[in-house]
């Protein structure tokens, strides 16, 4: 190699060392942005996506206890204050709308709140049962009168044809710092996202 080529090598090495030395400073000044989101799931009693009901039978009796696990993962890049709201609906009642980002208008039967740090996974067990039903032989409808979730009893008046196609819905509400209140879903990059889940079940009429 001649002198000019060696000079080129020297200059190149020095430039590389300078770039490496300045890289941490550049990264500190402009942190990398990743997409922020949250994941919500409703799992069976073992924390898996199965065994939602005993014997995998979604027909449940009055007084039968059903155990599920609410799974939440915070990937928003910072701490989040969330509320998970449970609602009970029949097939004709409005579910949450993911196009207009409106929650279901059904009343809340249970709410649990938690603060999650970034990248934290949180699991919360819910045990629920139907404590009392009302039957109407005229129109063949069965209604849920009393429902317990984690030892809290709630009065409801949800009716369904033949006691079929009830559903429990969970909605994710996130504390919005601009609104100073919870909102259904979360905002990221001036867009709104929402998450909700539902599981259908039927009621076995008492003999």
């Amino acid at each position: 190699m001649n002198l000019d080529e060696w000079r080129l090598v020297f200059v190149s090495v020095c430039i590389v060392i300078i770039l490496v030395a300045c890289a941490p400073l550049v990264m500190a000044l402009s942190p990398r942005r990743e997409e922020a989101f949250m994941t919500l799931a409703l799992l069976g009693e073992n924390g898996n996506a199965d065994q939602y009901f005993s014997d995998d039978d979604s027909r449940i009796e009055v007084g039968e206890v059903v155990n599920w696990v609410i799974y939440l993962h915070n990937l928003m890049g910072e701490v989040q204050y969330v509320a998970v709201r449970l609602k009970i609906l029949n097939s004709s009642m409005l579910a949450p709308n993911t196009i207009s980002y409106n929650p279901s208008p059904a009343p809340i039967i249970y709410e649990v709140r938690h603060v999650l740090t970034d990248n934290e996974i949180w699991m919360h067990t819910i045990s629920w049962s139907i404590d009392a039903i009302i039957t109407s032989t005229h129109v063949n409808k069965i209604g849920i009168e009393l429902l317990s979730v984690n030892n809290r009893t709630v009065e409801t008046s949800i009716l369904a044809e033949n006691g079929e196609n009830f559903r429990i819905i969970i909605e994710l509400w996130v504390y919005n710092e601009k609104l100073n209140n919870f909102q259904f879903g979360w905002s990221y990059d001036d867009e709104i996202y929402c998450a909700w889940n539902q599981i259908w079940f039927n009621i076995i009429l008492p003999v």
């Binding site: 020297f10 020095c14 300078i18 709140r113 504390y175």
Partner: protein
């Protein structure tokens, strides 16, 4: 005298009857007042939790370590949930006590957040300053290395070239 006694008894009976009649109204008013008071305490606790969370968020954005404060706030949230449960069961005193505990814990979080922000800001500034010094030092050293190193290498290279030419001749 008998007539006076009879009149007195009648008047006292009438007063007793009136008091007995309006007593339930007072009780109902008292209950409603307890319910309102309890609901108000729970609403205040709810607001306090929100403010504490926003303060946590601010501390985290400034680079503070909020892991312990998150645990503290979650215990306050559990107390809030118990307060609401007590309200539903009509245990107003218990609900108020729990709501006050929530407010106290939330205020603790708020106060601690301020010091976390101050420490984080200071540490952040120190780290930033150190990073600038280090990067500047490496850049200066590299430039110096180029000029001095290149001169040394050039004279060594030329010396070697001279020796090999002398050797050949």
């Amino acid at each position: 005298m008998n007539k006076l006694n009879k009149d007195l008894i009648s008047i006292l009976s009438f007063i007793g009857l009136v008091i007995f009649s309006i007593l339930p109204i007072f009780n109902i008013a008292q209950c409603e007042s307890n319910l309102e008071r309890t609901q108000s305490a729970i609403d205040e606790a709810d607001s306090a939790l929100g403010f504490a969370y926003l303060s946590l968020l601010k501390a985290e954005r400034k680079g503070g370590d909020i892991s312990e404060l998150v645990e503290l706030l979650n215990t306050a949230i559990d107390d809030y949930s118990e307060a609401k449960k007590a309200l539903d069961l009509g245990e107003y005193e218990e609900a108020i006590n729990l709501a006050e505990k929530v407010i106290k814990t939330s205020n603790e979080v708020l106060k601690t957040d301020i010091s976390v922000i101050v420490i984080a800001k200071h540490l952040g500034e120190v780290e930033y300053r150190n990073q600038i010094y280090l990067s500047s030092g490496v850049v200066c050293f590299t430039i110096l290395l180029y000029f001095v190193g290149w001169r040394l290498f050039k004279s060594y290279y030329l010396r070697n070239m001279k020796v090999s030419k002398t050797g050949r001749s």
